[in-house]
Subunit: 307 residues, 2 copies
């Protein structure tokens, strides 16, 4: 089997970077993988847990000889990291990022040297855990990877986009190519708003003096605990998502607030019909998500299984 | 082993009624269990799937000889069902309900004959599934059962409350006794508001013309799919919860809206510090919920486990 990349570099060795490094290795796509992280402790842990083969102390050392560079930092750091990578990486390197926002990345990448091929990507996958130890090779299996190419029509760039798509398929993902603005709106409703709502609910519960935290914990099986999973996600990563996808998030938040006002009014006025009608939509959408293989068909997220 | 109840009756043979019937049998608490449901098809299915031993065609027949009556209908039906049970059940029967709202049940029960002992209960447990086939005996294990007794000081009633508490403990639950108003507020934040928010998010996504339903399904692993679990819960049950716990739900919804406005403003003005500060609270609360045994300590609800 021919390796797709002799050497790869992962810049930002958290959950996604470490998972992709492991997936490249598990699928025989990359030979040696170097990891870099601004945090020396994360560098050490990434090497010790085996997510990467080496973790040099400088970005330059990590990039040296890498035909593939994965930028997996929080989105806010990406413009600076991409600029450094574009200046330092080997000629012709394929540079992909994995950020949850694409407009900001496309904008930053458009100004950089075409000496490397930057292909903005977003694998729609993750867990609420953080750090290199949380990474695992099958994270991208059966999930979707979205590519939002730069406005470059040259043949090397087109080949780079094809290679990025092949990489995602090789780690088990389905690939979709779309415009960055549409990505940012679609993910605002399917990912960013759900996280914002979960963070909001946890904050509101924390502020309610009349119900003690101990009670919230005890009775969380009534529904609250579901929200705490995504509300436990990395705070810095999510801060950067909201700072960098402001317009789309505010747009879908407006829709959410309208819908909430409708239900609030229905509760206040005892409008049983409206409540039941809105509530019926949930079941249908969940069935579609299960049918599409994006969710397991087990009640209560399988929590009631023994063990 | 002495049976706690020779005969029991389950009125409303859905997920909770069927689960409690199975739990009573699995723990040797009840001999013969009759089930009744207004829906003849549900009666037949409850008997066929083995949740109950018999499913007569009338409420009276189901109640005959039952020392324990479980009222597990939607909350809106409970006043009428409790009145019928209080009129027909055997003298001295213990009558418990399992409704998610307690003020409305306490109010309805207070006017009924003290010939039976009505003990309002709420087991904080469930799944997003409905119907008798969805029931299972271990549903209440390690969960909390809340009892909100009526304002009756007589000895038989106190004994009935003790017996209800013993029943819940025998099926694995922890028991808490509290005032119905406090219950309705505590559950508004831990259960009712989370469900309302989940239903709202699904509704808002459904209404967004610019993002197709197929895309919402594809990219739901970004967070959205978590919300569809509780949004797939029984629409009639939840309609009745909101119609019967209006004041407490509107109160906590007000808190939620304030918190959401704060975050919306932070996004609009690029206030990184506020966002990060609120986002950090999620992790702590989830850790507390896991530590209390109310959630499994597996990333991504265990979805990434093989199989």
């Amino acid at each position: 089997m021919t390796l797709m990349f002799e050497r790869a570099a992962v810049i930002g060795a958290g959950l996604i970077g470490a998972s992709l490094a492991r997936a490249l290795r598990a699928n025989g796509l990359a030979g040696r993988i170097a990891g870099f992280d601004l945090d020396a402790d994360v560098r050490r842990r990434a090497r010790e847990c085996g997510a990467v083969d080496e973790a040099p102390d400088t970005l330059d050392a990590a990039l040296k000889g890498a035909a593939l560079v994965i930028v997996s930092t929080p989105v806010g750091a990406m413009p600076a990291v991409l600029a450094a990578v574009a200046a330092t990486a080997d000629d012709g390197a394929l540079v992909i990022d994995v950020g949850s926002v694409k407009g900001a990345v496309v904008e930053a990448a458009a100004t950089l040297s075409p000496r490397v091929s930057i292909v903005p990507c977003h694998p729609v996958a993750g867990t609420e855990q953080s750090g290199p130890e949380a990474g695992f090779a099958s994270l991208f299996d059966k999930r979707w990877a979205i590519i939002t190419p730069l406005a470059r029509a040259d043949a090397p760039y087109k080949a780079a986009v094809d290679k990025a798509a092949a990489l995602w398929r090789a780690v088990g993902s389905n690939v979709e190519i779309m415009d960055h603005a549409h990505h940012d709106l679609a993910l605002a409703i399917t990912s960013h708003l759900p996280h914002l709502i979960a963070f909001t609910l946890v904050g509101a519960a924390d502020d309610l003096e009349s119900v003690a935290e101990a009670e919230i914990v005890k009775y969380s099986a009534g529904g609250f605990r579901d929200f705490t999973r995504i509300a436990a996600s990395d705070p810095v990563m999510w801060r950067d998502v909201f700072l960098n996808n402001k317009a789309a998030v505010l747009e879908v938040l407006g829709r959410f607030s309208e819908e909430l006002a409708l239900l609030q009014r229905a509760i206040r006025w005892g409008d049983a019909e409206t409540l039941e009608q809105v509530f019926r939509r949930g079941r249908e959408l969940r069935r579609a998500i299960v049918a599409a293989g994006q969710e397991k068909d087990v009640p209560n997220f399988g929590r009631d299984a023994k063990g």
